[in-house]
Symmetry: D2
Subunit: 338 residues, 4 copies
C-alpha cells in the first residue's frame, strides 16, 4: 500500500485528488493539508467529501508517506518539495515550479525568485503519455498545466511527424471556471460569469505560453520549432477545457493521412481518444474523466485539432495520479477508471 499526502487539499485540484485517492485501491491517504482551513474538516467545505481533518502543511508527517501531491501556489510548492525530497518522499507537484527547464524564464513569467533552482533539471515533466520511461525513477514530477496538457497531447503527433509547418500555431482555448481557482474573486463571481464569455491574456501573454512552447520544441524534429499564439477564454461552465488548434501545413496535406497519423499515435493509449473522422471533440466527451478527446480536421492546408480534457482531472489531479501509477508500478488506470 502506497502512503500518500496531499498539500493544498481544499482547492479544486486538491479536492479532486482526494476523491481519486480515496477510491484508489493501492493508496492510503495519510494526510491532507490546508493553510487557510487548517483545523477544519474537509466535508465542511465540500459536502460530499470524506470526513478528513485538514492540518497545517508544516506539521505534515512527510517521513511517513511515500509520495506527496503538491496542489499549492507556485513558490510555496517548491519549498515544500525541498522538504519532502529531504525526507526521501517522492513529489508530484501540480504547480508550475518545476515545469519550465529554464529558470530565468520561470522567474520572468512567475515574478518570483525560484526557491529551488537546483531541483529543476531533476524534475520529470509529467505529460504521462510521453514520460513513461522516466517516471519509474523520478523523485520529482512536474505535473503539466491544464492548457498545456490539452494542447501538447494534440500537437505531439503532427510535430513528431516532422511535416513542414509554415507559420505560427494558434491555440484558441476555452476553459471552465474551476481553472481560475477556488479563492473568490470578482471576475469569477457567478453574476459576472453567467451569460458571459470572455478572452483574457491572449496572444503571448499567458503563463502557460512558455510551458507549451517548451513542449512544442521538445516534440519538434527541426531546430526551428513553430511559434505559438495562445488565446485563453473563460467559459461559463464549472469544468473542462476545449482547445481549437490551427496548424498551417506545407506541402499537400491529406485528411485521411493525418487522421491515420493520430489514430496510430494514440492507438494504445487508454486515456487519449482520437475520434472517428468527421467527429469533433467537446466537453461532453471528457468531463469527470481522465480522458483527452482529440479530433482531426483538415481545411485547406490548415490542420484543425479540437482537443478536450477535464481541466481538474487529465489537466491536474487525474494526470498526477496517472503519473503516480507509473512511478509506483501500479496499473496506469488505477483510481482513474470508474
Amino acid at each position: 500500500m502506497t502512503k500518500a499526502g496531499i498539500f493544498g487539499a481544499t482547492g479544486y485540484a486538491g479536492y479532486e485528488l482526494v476523491k481519486i485517492l480515496e477510491r484508489h485501491e493501492g493508496v492510503k491517504l495519510e494526510f491532507v493539508t490546508s493553510h487557510s482551513f487548517a483545523g477544519q474538516w474537509l466535508d465542511d467545505l465540500y459536502p460530499q467529501a470524506p470526513h478528513l481533518l485538514l492540518i497545517e502543511g508544516e506539521t505534515a508527517p512527510l517521513e511517513e508517506v511515500d509520495v506527496v501531491f503538491l496542489a499549492l501556489p507556485h513558490a510555496a510548492a517548491a519549498a515544500t518539495a525541498v522538504s519532502a525530497l529531504q525526507s526521501n518522499t517522492r513529489v508530484i507537484d501540480l504547480s508550475a515550479d518545476f515545469r519550465l527547464k529554464d529558470v530565468a524564464t520561470y522567474e520572468v513569467w512567475y515574478d518570483v525568485t525560484h526557491p529551488a533552482p537546483a531541483l529543476v533539471e531533476t524534475a520529470v515533466y509529467g505529460l504521462t503519455e510521453f514520460a513513461r520511461d522516466q517516471l519509474p525513477e523520478a523523485d520529482l514530477v512536474a505535473n503539466p498545466g491544464c492548457y498545456p496538457t490539452s494542447i501538447l497531447l494534440a500537437l505531439q503527433p503532427i510535430l513528431a511527424a516532422g511535416l513542414p509547418i509554415t507559420g505560427p500555431i494558434i491555440a484558441d482555448s476555452k476553459s471552465g471556471v474551476s481553472g481560475a481557482g477556488r479563492v473568490p474573486k470578482q471576475h469569477i463571481h457567478f453574476v459576472e460569469v453567467a451569460d458571459n464569455f470572455s478572452p483574457y491574456k491572449i496572444g503571448r501573454m499567458h503563463r502557460h505560453l512558455p510551458e507549451i512552447e517548451q513542449g512544442i520544441a521538445s516534440f519538434s524534429r527541426s531546430e526551428d520549432a513553430p511559434m505559438l499564439i495562445f488565446s485563453p477564454h473563460l467559459l461559463p461552465v464549472p469544468r473542462g477545457i476545449l482547445s481549437t488548434i490551427y496548424v498551417p501545413l506545407g506541402g499537400e496535406p491529406n485528411a485521411d493521412d493525418l487522421h491515420d497519423l493520430y489514430a496510430q499515435a494514440y492507438a494504445n493509449e487508454p486515456f487519449v481518444h482520437v475520434l472517428p473522422a468527421g467527429q469533433l471533440a467537446s466537453l461532453a466527451h471528457v468531463t469527470h474523466t481522465n480522458r483527452c478527446a482529440i479530433a482531426v480536421t483538415l481545411a485547406g492546408n490548415t490542420l484543425i485539432l479540437t482537443s478536450a480534457i477535464d481541466n481538474l482531472i487529465k489537466g491536474a489531479a487525474g494526470q498526477a495520479v496517472q503519473n503516480m501509477n507509473v512511478m509506483m508500478g501500479f496499473d496506469e488506470g488505477m483510481g482513474l477508471t470508474a
Copy 2:
C-alpha cells in the same frame, strides 16, 4: 429637471439605478459615489456603463441635488441620510435602515446601534402601490427589500380582504445570485453556484422576516396577524425572485372569487400583473422589468400565490425610481417602461 445622486453606484442595485436614471427624461444624474472604487470610472467595472467618474461619498455635493438614492450597506446609509436631509435633499434609501418601525427589532436583526433612530418614524415605507398617498410629501423613503416586495405585493389583497387565515403563512422564495451582492464571496463563486440549488436561513432566521411580518401586520384587518415562515433559496441565475406562498384559509374558499379579488385589486396597477387563471408566474415574466407577476391558485383550502419580480428592479432600483416618480410628480412609469 430633477437633479439626483447615487451613493454606492457600483453594487448591482446601484448600477441598475444608473441605467434607469440615465434614460429617465426628467432626471439629471449629478454624481455617483463608491467607497471601494472612488477615482475610477464606472465603465471600468461595467463595460456597458456610461463613462462616469466615481467619487467618494464624503465629497458628494449633497446641496446641489434634489434627491439622493442610497445603495449603501446598512448603518452607512442612515448616516448619509442624516447629512442629505440636513442639506434639504430628499432621500430614497435602498438599505434596511428605515424599513423597520421598531428600532429595537432593527438593532437585534442587524446587530448595530441605529445611527439615526429619530428619523425612523418619519420614513415612508415605499412599497409604491400602497404608499402613493404619503410619497409626495416624503423626505425619506425606505425602499422595501427584494423578498418583502415579492411577498407583500402577493399577500396584500388576501390580507386586506380579511378572510380567516388558519395558520402560519409560508413563503418559499428563490432568488438569483445578484441578491447576494457584488462583493466576491465563497458561496457565490461561479463553481459553487452552477449546477447547485440551496436553501439558507429558512424558517424564521432571515433579516427580511421582521420586515415582511411588519407588512403583514399593516395589511391585516385583524389584531392577530398571521405568523410567517420564510424560506429563501439561492437560484443559479443572475437575477429574479420567485416566491411560492401558501396561505391556509378558513371557510370555503372559492378559486374564482380569489382570482377576482386579485384581478380587481391590481386592475389599475401598471406594474403588478395578475395572471389569467390557470397560469403561473415565472422569472421569464419579469426579468429586466419593473413588473411583479402574481398568479392565484387554490388547492384544497390553501391559497397558493406565485409571485415573481426582478430583484434588482422592482425589488430595488426600479421601485426606488417608481417612488421618486411619485415623490416628484412624474408619471409613475418614467424611466421604467422600455
Copy 3:
C-alpha cells in the same frame, strides 16, 4: 453473475442505468433497447457511453437474463413487464405503471387503461429503505418516482412517529431539467430554461401527487393521513431535486427531539444522510450519488424538512440498482458507491 437487460437505454434514466450496471461487479449487461434509436450505438448518443448496440425491445432475449430494468414510458412498461414475467425474468420498472395500488387512480392520472391490472397488487413499491423485507421475493418492483423519493424519505420518520399533524403537508419541490426527459420540447430548450425558474402543476395537479399521498398513508399511524400540497418547479440545472417540506405539528414540538428522531431513524442507512442540526440540504450534497440528504429544522410549530437527491440516481437508476442488489442478495451499495 446476474444477467440484466435495460429497456429504454437512451433516456436519461436509462443511460444512468447503463453507467451503473457497467461498473457493477455482480452484473453482466446483456442488452440495451431503444425504440427510436434501434440499430444505432449508444456512444453515438452519449459520447462517454460504452460501445453498445441498441436493439428493438421486441427482439430482446428476455429468457436469457435474470432481471430487466424498464426505463420506458408508462403503459409501454407494463406491457413489457408482462412479457418478462412470462419468461421468468424479474422486473424493475422505473415507470409509473405499478406504483399506484389503486388501478382506477392510475387510469385517471395517466389517462390510459392499465395494460396489466392483475399485476399491480403483486408489485413491491421499491422505496428501498422501507421495502427490504419484500424485495428478496419480489418478481416485480415498482421503482418510485423522483419527487416521491425525495419527499417520502423525508416524511417517513415524522409520520411513523405518530405526532399530531394539524393541516396539510406542503412539499415545495425543485427539479433539474433531466427530470423532464430527453425528448426535445419547447419548455426544455436551453434558451427557455437558462436564467429562468418556473413552477408547474402546483397544488394537486401533478401525477406524482397520488403516489406521494399513497406513501404518506402507508407511513401514517392514524386513519386520517394528512393531505398533500405539492408544488414542483423547474430549476435551470441538469440534475437534482430539492424538496422543501412543511409539516404543521401539534403539541409543543422540540427541535432537538425532532433531529434525534431523524438521526436515529436513518442511523444505519448507507444512502440516507441526516445532516447535523443547523445545516440544510442542497443539491451539492447529492448530485452524482445515490444519496438522500435530509435536514431537520423547526420554525414555530412547523417542521421544515429539506431533502435532496439526484433525480437520475436515487430518484431513478440508482434506487433501481439498490433494489436489484437487495433482490439478488448483493451488498446493497454495489455499483453505487464510487
Copy 4:
C-alpha cells in the same frame, strides 16, 4: 409614421424585432405572422410580449405597410419577398436568401433552387456601416448573418487598409444557443448544452462561410482576397457571439498603428466600439444592445481581433431596424438605444 409588418414573429429574431419596433417612435407595427402559431397570441409564447394576434403569412395585408421584415426560413423568405415587392412594399430579409450574390453558390450551400434569382442582384447587403449609400434607395435588403456581422465588421479596416495578408484568416467564433433557433432539437436541449461546449462545422463547412468570404473579397483591395477558416462553437449562454479572429500580416506590423487604424475607421460609428488598447471584447460588452465591440491585439505578426455582438440584435433584428432607419431617413439609432 412608417407602417411595418413582421413575418415569422415567433422565432427569437422575430420576437426581438417586435420588441424593438414596439418602442420605435417612428414605426407602427401593423401585423405579425407565424405559420406554426397562427391564431394564437404572441404573449402566450413570450410572457413579456405585447398582446398581438399572430396571423398566417398568406393573409398578411402587404399593401397596407411600407416595409416588411422577413424572419423566415430561407426559400420561404424569398417567396414572400416577391409578393411584398409586387405590392410596392420594401423588404428587409433576415434570411440568407439574398445575401449571396452568386446564385449557384447559394443553391449549393442551401440545397434549394433559388425562388427568386432575378432579385438577387437588386438586393443591398445590409451591413449597415458599409451600406449607407445604397440603403435609402433600396427596396430589398439582405440583412447579414450573425457570424458574418461579427467577423466582417472586425475585418473591414484591415482589409481596406491593404496591408499584406500572408495566409488564411482564421475566425474562431462562439455563439449563444438562440443562434440555433427556437424549434426544439436534441442538441439544444438544456441538459445537452449546460456544462458543455462544442465546435461544429469547423473549417470550411458552415453556410456562413461563403457569405463571409464574399464580404472579405468586397473589402479587399487586392484581387487575391485571403481564404477563410471559420470555426463556430456552441456556447452555453442564451445569446451573444464572440469571434476571435487571427489575421497573419506581412511586413512589420505595429500594434499602435493597428489600433489607430481601427479607432479611426470607427470613430464616428454609433454602434461599433473599438476598445482601448489592452482591453478585450466580451459578451458582457454587447448583450442586449445593438453594439459591436472590437478589440485589437498584435502577437508577433498575427493581428488578433476579438469582436462581440448580440446575435439577436446587431446580428439580426437590431441591424435590420438600423437598416430600416437609414432606408426611411430616421435617425439611425431610433429604437436601438435605450
